[in-house]
Symmetry: D2
Subunit: 255 residues, 4 copies
């Protein structure tokens, strides 16, 4: 069998190296968040970059037991008391396109928008107006804009302020704000939601679009594990009683 | 349906609170590691506690593509190119009793050993000797001791030094070291492995045994996500060719 | 890398053989249920055995959207619209000790009981009385007995009648009935539930205890896939609104 | 909370009904395969339809330990000895677009091709030629055609013969054969692979495209469970040693 190639981690009997750094040095001098950055980008972040990634991971870490990731994890924990990892994995599986996955679509849109602006010599404002117009023509929802509960997500404002104050905000933040303005002109006033805000900042931190989704997963796993522990320590097995209405065929006989 | 109770996170239209702290304050003033501690213990850690939890999360974050969690995630990523969360979840599922799960068993052993010492007025040394003797009588392996590759895991030494230097080491570290000495006397020289070291320190940080397993999962998810990205960006779909030998029944006819 | 050994399936450019049978012969002359039996036992079942395995797989195939396996699958499907396999996998993960897993415990109890009877020359009735007495002494629940809804599970009666009428019922069915009688004497009247009934019949069909759990999974996956499709075709994304009560710490400031 | 609607299964204290049929009647008079058909289509299949669905489920049930679904399940089983469901779920997760998922794409192509033919009054041959030409223009691979090992998949021939002999073959089989002929003219001789064959027959049996993927999962879960059992009964924990080559950065110091 062909050996598997990797540029991430290697080890011998005496040491483990992550992206070239001895893991014991990282343990003594780095934080977990810096290691997450290192694993995905191959370099340690500057202090300002670390602060932004911490803010993103904290911002998505938990949203209560009714979020699909937490609810799926709790129901699995309720039927499966001996396998904590099964419950956590079910929580990870709930993070699809409709829950947390908007970051992937949104980062892709930012990448495309910035690329179009560069290629065609447009301003980011012009590229954003075009993105909104295209979405309207094709009747697509714009990722990163709008929220079913918050009119303005408090996490968005904080992330953008931090990104500006620390000199991290660049094309990603600028494009998302231009997009919001263009949406305001062409559709209606819509807030930048947490997916949009973290996509903008992750783009400016140099992450690939797919990694946006993975960062959401890393952050939310922290909350899912806490939800699973609370289910195990406070609740009985098989406790969930979802009300059901049956509207299928009436009783019938087999021939 | 009965509402679900939670003491972890609550939100309204304007704010999200984790264990009572406004998430935007945490984003600006805390780190992700502090938030992980907060989610599981309900309080923010002291600076020294944070340093130890960071070291633990970093220490388990990745061990290369051949660890079961990474290998399972990569094989799923190889057959399933559109669902990153499916690959990460498969990695989580590989973290069972034989891979990463020793922390749970080891923390339980430490809890039991310390409890026995307190109840019966024994020293931790006496309790550890009894634990070794019991394991030998019942022909059980001692969790947290011994390693298939490293004679002394470099991460163990660093964790214990950090725990002592920062005043975090207490009964957990003391018990594991007593256990190693007792094993040395009764069995043979055996190193404390990474599961044993992180169990000792997590016990001293106040975590429940089940949470030991979950902390391992939180840390390793960081590495698994990087392994999945590397698979996607460097390798072709369905590339894995595991050599197989068939030793079942020869071809036969149905009657 | 060492080749992986297998005695199940082999293939070359022209053919695939399952346990020695050409898969195209199986496709033309066997049923899926016979193939499940073949995969797990290495031989094709007699007609009577096949009828019982069909009855078991049908009997566990679905129990509505509120069963943990279906509910977990639906919540994942609600957050993750693009990955059907993620939703099905979450359903599989919910099948733990408390949901469907009783079959594993129950088959193990039957194995142990029959082995004790043989070794010590007891009748199955005596072995069953001892199993009930032991469970009471150790304050353990008896697997396979009792049900939170049905006083007598209709599927139990049908499985046992079929097993007797087709000459499949042997020590497994006899032991479970002896256990029920012993429980009636020593505890109170308790029905044999579906886990108990299928455990008894699976034992008599020659399956190992762990396989009992896997047969439950194979059967229920059929229902979970139908639940996932219904979620996708009838419901909107992110539709689940579980009511939540927060009883954690009140808002507090970071120092 | 809004009750969940379902038209699949309902139960009261005395009975369980699947699509209106008492489950105990199904257990006595139906097969598991008929129940799978019933769960997904709301009616019991004719004898000929049942034979084809059995053949499909058998045809995909196992392909040895090196298929991604089996390999992922075995690696999880190797690290996680106590949770059979975790290993099976990992196997399910490997069934993505590149492994087993072609059925979904292929059924969608058949649906589209037949719809185009009807709408524009074309023959299926003309619609197939257009589908091949479009794929070439857009440099897309055609799903259901071509195979990396078999020049002609033996399962394809058997499925099509059975479908014709039993009067099940209709537009789906006709379209796939027209597609193969058009590909032969415009590209080169390419076999219809198992994904293409089962897609054609599943279409003719009245299944929706997404269900094609789910039928593959239901069938393959049978094989995955057998692979997991073989791993548990024949192999040691943590046995997999994948060879690795590291080509990342050399050791470096933290500043």
């Amino acid at each position: 069998m062909e050996p598997w190639r990797t540029g991430i981690t290697t080890s011998d009997e005496k040491s483990i190296f992550i992206r070239g750094y001895d893991v014991t040095s990282l343990m003594q001098q780095a934080t977990f968040t810096e290691t997450i950055f290192l694993l995905h980008q191959g370099r340690l972040p500057a202090k300002e970059e670390r602060a932004l990634l911490d803010a993103i991971l904290i911002g998505v870490s938990d949203h209560g037991p009714a979020a699909p990731s937490a609810a799926a994890a709790r129901i699995v924990a309720s039927g499966n008391r001996r396998s904590l990892e099964a419950a956590v994995a079910a929580g990870v599986l709930a993070m699809g396109d409709a829950h947390g996955g908007a970051a992937l679509d949104c980062m892709q849109m930012i990448c495309d928008g910035v690329a179009v602006a560069r290629r065609e010599g447009l301003s980011l404002q012009e590229a954003a107006r075009r993105a909104v117009a295209d979405a309207r023509t094709e009747k697509r929802r714009l990722p990163g804009i709008g929220h079913r509960v918050h009119t303005e997500d408090p996490r968005t404002r904080v992330l953008f302020e931090m990104a500006r104050a620390r000199g991290v905000a660049r094309d990603g933040v600028a494009f998302m704000q231009a997009l919001q303005e263009a949406a305001c002109d062409q559709i209606r006033a819509l807030p930048i939601n947490i997916d949009g805000a973290l996509s903008a900042v992750l783009y400016d931190l140099g992450f690939l679009p797919s990694v946006g989704k993975l960062i959401f997963i890393i952050g939310r796993v922290a909350g899912v594990t806490a939800q699973v522990m609370e289910e195990h320590t406070r609740e009985k097995p098989m406790r969930v009683r979802i009300p059901v209405i049956y509207d299928g065929p009436p009783p019938r006989d087999m021939k």
